[in-house]
Symmetry: C2
Subunit: 220 residues, 2 copies
DNA sequence: TAATAAAGTTAGACTAATCTAACAAATAAA
DNA sequence: TTTATTTGTTAGATTAGTCTAACTTTATTA
């Protein structure tokens, strides 16, 4: 059985690997991500290697083994299911769920997580729009849903942005969007994907570039 | 903030004190209850004394301070609310809830527990029939409800027995009772409290001594 | 390509929670 | 009331996870 600390290292490794699109993850980077010193991360890497959870040689590249990856995905599954629970059942707000889920994800009970999944009616995405891996550790490749993927007539809610540049954020504010703002997709041009959206009763035309940079979750 | 380990010591101290009806709790006893060696418990007692959570002098008696007691009750509150959640919402059985609740009780988030309480509709008893302390740390004095306290016409469910003697247990089995068996109180004699109960369609007359030794939870 | 900077590693130390073994105090029994 | 037993305490060691400081390797750049 893994300790919470070990689980956190695996989770960080998986996240960093994904974020960097499978480019190399380094000791310092891992340490920073976990708010520990490089020496600490180095010690843990040796330990995780010993347990066959990471492949790693001195000064060499760090990768999760199949077992390590499966464990990491499983922790993410738990994290996202708990976030969904907190958000949907306990009325936590979007920004409050993370810290509590960080704790809940380390509870050891496979029965608990499968029952929770069922209770939540097998959700596919968490409140941040990130996909929830299934019990086999399968995770949809596209990490979040963008506004571009919402069908005409459907409603959704902004949960994040892909582009963090000032120009783009300014644009976002100009069309009345903030975290959690409800958006309805009114129509979409076949030719150039120019999309007409409705936000707080007002309508705006936005480009494909725009819709691809706004992350959303579907809203009933 | 308290570590899970510290919380467990406080909880054990409170439980042992209650069980022994406020008689002295010793180091060995505490150690046994927590499955550690007396030396370990002794070290922790010093630490808890330093933190003003227990009053304790070398070779002297061990008592929780007001702060310590409040913390301990709060952990019990969390434990019992989680048990109720697992039982009522996730379809855990009566005997499966404890171990998972042991882990969940250490999650740190007052918001979480208050939201959970609300979500469960402010339950008064957990699935074992033990009362759930309120947010102020107030706990009903009677630890569990006995069959003797159930009103005529009401239904309940057996959750435990007070008397564990073979004779009594045999008696219990004879009237068709097991863990979780549904019981209906049909009538009760004013004079000697002889009670007529219905179990699985059959009726039995039982004494006050009997009804006082069967722990129950109310059933809708 | 040699110097410098960045990244990674090692050694040694600390804390929390545990242990064993030895010892001390309090209680029970002869 | 002295001895024996139970109970409680101390000292010293161990493990996981962390740190700092010093050192080594790899990468960058002048």
């Amino acid at each position: 059985m893994l300790s919470s600390t070990e689980e956190n290292y695996l989770k960080s490794l998986l996240k960093l690997t994904f974020e960097k699109d499978n480019k190399q993850v380094g000791t310092n980077e891992l340490a920073t991500h976990l708010s520990v010193k490089p020496a600490t991360a180095n010690d843990m890497l040796k330990k995780l290697k010993e347990k066959n959870l990471v492949d790693y040689e001195k000064y060499g590249k760090i990768t999760l083994t199949e077992t390590g990856k499966f464990s990491a995905i499983n922790i993410i599954r738990k994290h996202r299911l708990w976030e969904t629970f907190l958000y949907e059942k306990l009325e936590f707000t979007w920004d409050e769920v993370h810290d509590v889920a960080e704790q809940l994800e380390h509870i050891q009970s496979s029965k608990l997580i499968e029952k929770l999944d069922k209770f939540l009616n097998f959700p596919k995405f968490d409140p941040h729009g990130d996909p929830i891996p299934n019990i086999k550790g399968e995770l949809k490749i596209h990490f979040k849903k963008t506004l571009a993927e919402v069908e005409v007539g459907q409603c959704c809610k902004m949960v994040a942005v892909k582009d963090n540049s000032g120009t783009f954020l300014q644009y976002v504010v100009n069309v009345g969007l903030g975290l959690h703002t409800k958006i309805k997709v009114i129509s979409k041009q076949d030719y150039d994907a120019i999309t007409l959206i409705e936000v707080n009763g007002k309508q705006y035309s936005v480009s494909q570039k725009f819709t691809e940079n706004v992350f959303v979750v579907s809203k009933n």
